[in-house]
């Protein structure tokens, strides 16, 4: 088993102009990831520019494949989106500390903003039945993968910033409602999304003394804890998102 391996692209499925699912053939030598972990992907066909690998949360896997849900956000992700089946790419992973399983009797509540679903999907898949997903996006077009989510059997509530699907508002509004209706009794929260959303979620969880785990995003170089490039201030210390994270317990903040 080696965490540095190469894998063949088997499919690139475009979900929208910006969003796609990258599917790779998982070689037998590639170790099994856990929910919330990530891989560093070296961009194909580009030599030394762009130079750095790109970190992506693992979206889904089985014995024969690895899937990543990716949004084109710049040059590197555009290169990935433009690659095709049959091409080989170089990966390092699985990396980082993922989401811990809920302790006995706790109800897992996944709070996802925008691309946060890319990191939370493995938790939905593994903990879906009996769990709750609060899923927010800017518009209805960005509420991706509702079919796959529905197939897990998880109770799901959606909300959009512009009201184009479901309610108008943010996942924090859904969270407040869930508390009102008693759905958060004995809950453990798993959150991923833009920093603004996570910041509000963190405040909410602290105020209500609730157990929770947040997955953070940061630009990275090595992904192995060596370069210190991805360190963020958490609880007064500079912690590496790649090694101590990307998932941090609310109690660490």
């Amino acid at each position: 088993m080696s965490r540095h391996f190469s894998a063949e692209i088997t499919d690139i499925r475009q979900l929208s102009r910006e969003h796609f699912i990258l599917t790779l053939h998982r070689p037998p030598s590639a170790p099994e990831p856990g929910p919330g972990q990530f891989f560093l992907i070296r961009l194909p066909r580009c030599g030394e520019d762009p130079l750095l690998r790109r970190p992506f949360s693992i979206f889904d896997w089985d014995e024969g494949k690895l899937r990543f849900f990716i949004r084109v956000a710049g040059k590197g992700t555009a290169i990935l989106a433009g690659s095709g089946p049959g091409e080989r790419i170089d990966l390092i992973g699985p990396l980082g500390r993922g989401y811990p399983e809920p302790s006995d009797g706790k109800r897992p509540v996944m709070v996802s903003g925008g691309m946060g679903i890319a990191s939370l999907f493995p938790m939905i898949r593994e903990q879906g039945k009996g769990g709750l997903l609060l899923y927010g996006a800017r518009t209805s077009d960005e509420l991706h993968l509702l079919d796959e989510i529905g197939a897990t059997g998880i109770e799901t509530e959606t909300i959009t910033d512009d009201g184009s699907s479901g309610r108008k508002g943010t996942v924090l509004d859904l969270l407040h409602d869930a508390v009102q209706s008693g759905k958060m009794e004995g809950a453990v929260v798993y959150g991923c999304g833009p920093w603004g959303m996570l910041h509000s979620l963190l405040g909410f969880l602290k105020e209500n003394r609730m157990e929770g785990y947040l997955s953070l995003e940061e630009r990275m170089a090595c992904g192995l804890g060596a370069c210190m490039g991805c360190a963020k201030e958490i609880g007064g210390r500079m912690l590496r998102v790649c090694l101590e994270g990307p998932v941090f317990s609310v109690s660490e903040f």
Binding site: H4, E48, L51, R219, A221, C222, C227
Partner: protein, 302 residues
């Protein structure tokens, strides 16, 4: 074929070392690199006390390179001696500790306590002198001379290496000054001061505003600086700046380096150092080179 080189008192089985700050304390890469196969391991820069470094964001990618401003986050000398160094001692490879400070005394204290504990001490002179309003120690010949003199007095057993900044009018002059003050070797180049700006927000890309540029983008600049210095020095040069493959390393040796250090390439390819050693071997065998030291300064100008 003999790949061994000598830097001061350090006998290395090949010329490939790691560049400080890009290889952690060794353990981070042990899954991808046979640490026993490296010429030497240079660890993350150490200060007397642990440092938390700069706020995020700390890195920004640029064409064929990256800018970083980590702010010298490190575990501090005590934790290094207690936790990191004993682990590294499982391997045969020489260990070089990189040191940094805010005051001249911090450098001499670090050097004294590390002397004899590690094979080499590499001094990062591109740090702000807190007592002189943050001006870099390397920025004037007087302050460079003071630091080198102080660490020279403190280091009796280990090999003393001064790591030079490219932010100077004449790096060969700086290197010569280090030699005169008794340094056993110089390493060059540290990162090049750099800036990137987000035009949407008009804010700098890094929290510290400026940072240091590294990666293949800096290689031609580093090569020229090695060449400029080689012609004037007797002590060996450790060349670095954008080395990603065996032929990059060979270029540095032809320009005058005795050994080379691999930095940013570790981030792109975690086993870059191993590939570079193999690349040097392949080159030497293809060209029928018996001793790798033959290459040092071997650029043919006519």
């Amino acid at each position: 074929m003999d790949l061994s080189v000598r830097i001061g008192k350090i006998q290395m089985k090949n010329p490939v070392m790691t560049a400080s700050g890009t290889f952690g304390y060794g353990g981070e890469y042990s899954e991808f690199v046979d640490l026993d196969r490296l010429g030497a391991i240079v660890v993350k820069g150490l200060s007397l006390q642990a440092r938390e470094g700069n706020p995020s964001p700390r890195i920004w990618e640029t064409p064929c390179g990256m800018i970083n401003s980590i702010g010298l986050q490190n575990v501090g000398l005590d934790a290094f001696l207690k936790e990191k160094l004993p682990w590294l001692r499982r391997f045969q490879t020489p260990v070089i500790a990189n040191i940094l400070g805010s005051f001249p005394e911090e450098y001499s204290n670090l050097a004294r306590r590390l002397d004899g504990e590690v094979e080499g001490i590499e001094v990062n002179v591109s740090c702000p002198n807190v007592r002189k309003g943050g001006i870099l120690f390397s920025s004037t010949p007087e302050s460079l001379k003071e630091i080198v003199g102080r660490v020279r007095d403190s280091v009796k057993q280990s090999t003393l290496i001064i790591k030079l900044s490219p932010a100077t009018s004449d790096i060969g002059q700086d290197a010569l000054l280090c030699e005169k003050e008794g340094a056993d070797a110089v390493s060059m180049i540290n990162t090049i001061p750099a800036l990137a700006i987000d035009t949407e927000t008009r804010k700098p890309r890094l929290s510290n505003i400026t940072g240091g540029l590294s990666g293949p983008a800096v290689k031609p600049i580093a090569l020229k600086m090695v060449w400029d210095s080689y012609r004037r020095l007797r002590i060996p040069i450790i060349g670095m700046g954008g080395i990603t493959c065996g032929t990059d390393a060979i270029e540095f040796m032809l320009a005058g380096a005795t050994a080379v250090a691999v930095g940013t390439a570790n981030f792109i390819n975690p086993s870059a150092t191993m590939d570079i050693i193999s690349g040097i071997e392949a080159y030497a065998s293809e060209k029928g080179i018996r001793k790798i030291t033959e290459l040092t300064g071997g650029m043919q100008c006519s």
